[in-house]
């Protein structure tokens, strides 16, 4: 971010435009970073659920419900990142 700030400063934009440029790029970083953890989490969660359903098809209904619950909690982090992205970027 330090290097990016120098780069923006070197373009000779006005202070407001520099601020907008920094906001736009950090909004991108905010969402990108927020998506990493939940991406890994949901992948692992669904993978394990499929494994459980394949091993024990009679428990599939229960596993599916729990899987959706887990996805909902994991996904919330990514969504908060998305809201922050909207808030900073606009």
């Amino acid at each position: 971010m330090e290097a990016f700030a120098h780069l923006v400063a070197a373009t000779g934009l006005t202070a407001d435009e520099q601020k907008a440029a920094a906001a736009a790029s950090s909004a991108g970083f905010a969402y990108g970073l927020a998506a990493i953890g939940p991406g890994i989490g949901i992948g692992y969660l669904v993978g394990k659920s499929v494994e459980a359903m394949a091993r024990q098809p009679e428990a599939a209904g229960m596993v599916r419900t729990t899987m959706f619950l887990g996805i909902a909690f994991t996904e919330a982090l990514a969504l908060i990142g998305f809201v922050v992205f909207i808030l900073i970027g606009l």
């Binding site: 209904g61 419900t65 619950l69 996904e75 969504l79 998305f82 809201v83």
Partner: protein
């Protein structure tokens, strides 16, 4: 040569619709329509003869009641929770009918993509599960939620703080944000790919290959529309199932 670069419209212009009359815009109209359609469908279904085989509206209503009972209540609250079916069913139907206009042509706006409706629903759920907790456990509900049974004394301050924040602040906040952000993200994605397709079709360019490129965002648009059909259902389902879990945990603290 492209005449001008692709420019995304301001977020306000894709979310704010013009007021039909003072403080009543089209998003509010969608919400009212969702409430009315849901009520009318179930009243119609209720007026049909219950002794013959269900068909049409009644079939739809019966299968949705069955879905709520078997897919949500029995999985999370067990037999004791069956009394909550009407509440969860109306919550599910209302959220689904608010989400669905996001992919209906001409309307193309999920009412839940504005913060107000998810927030109000989440506050309603918050009031309900707090009320259920006080009704079933009395004033002990407060200490039970803050200190789940079996917490060592040394950990009480730490656990108390975490549970306090997670039960009273994070739960309604995450319910709100989950529904709102999912629908908003879907809406923005649809707008982006629709605009890309349109700007490629209307581009004034000498490049012969540029215009046929519009099939790429068009495919993505079709795929995302199909995906949004799923998301509209899934978010209504997740909101309802989390409500069921919260109410269940207030009624029976041991699980």
């Amino acid at each position: 040569m492209i005449a001008e670069a692709f420019k995304f419209p301001l977020i306000n212009s894709i979310l704010r619709w013009k007021d039909l009359f003072t403080s009543f815009n089209k998003v509010a109209l969608i919400a009212v329509a969702a409430a009315v359609i849901g009520t009318v469908v179930f009243l119609l279904a209720g007026s049909k003869d219950a002794n013959t085989a269900p068909k049409g509206v009644r079939n739809l209503a019966e299968s949705s009641v069955e879905f709520i009972e078997n897919g949500i209540v029995m999985q999370t609250m067990g037999k004791d929770g069956l009394g909550w079916t009407p509440f969860l069913l109306s919550l599910f139907i209302f959220i689904y009918l608010c989400n669905a206009p996001g992919i209906i042509p001409v309307i193309y706006m999920p009412a839940t993509a504005r913060m107000a409706i998810p927030m109000f629903l989440a506050l309603l759920v918050w009031v309900v599960y707090m009320g259920v907790g006080f009704k079933h456990q009395g004033i002990k509900y407060l200490t039970h939620t803050i200190w789940p049974p079996g917490v060592p004394v040394a950990l009480k301050p730490l656990v108390g703080l975490i549970e306090l924040v997670s039960n009273y602040i994070v739960r309604p906040f995450s319910l709100t944000v989950r529904l709102f952000a999912n629908m908003l993200a879907g809406h923005i994605l649809l707008v982006v790919f629709a605009l890309l397709t349109q700007s490629l079709i209307t581009a004034e360019t000498m490049q012969a290959l540029l215009k046929p490129m519009m099939v790429l965002p068009l495919f993505m648009l079709i795929f995302l529309t199909a995906f949004e059909v799923l998301v509209a259902f899934l978010q209504a389902y997740i909101f309802t199932i989390l409500t069921a879990v919260y109410i269940g945990s207030s009624a029976h603290p041991e699980h």
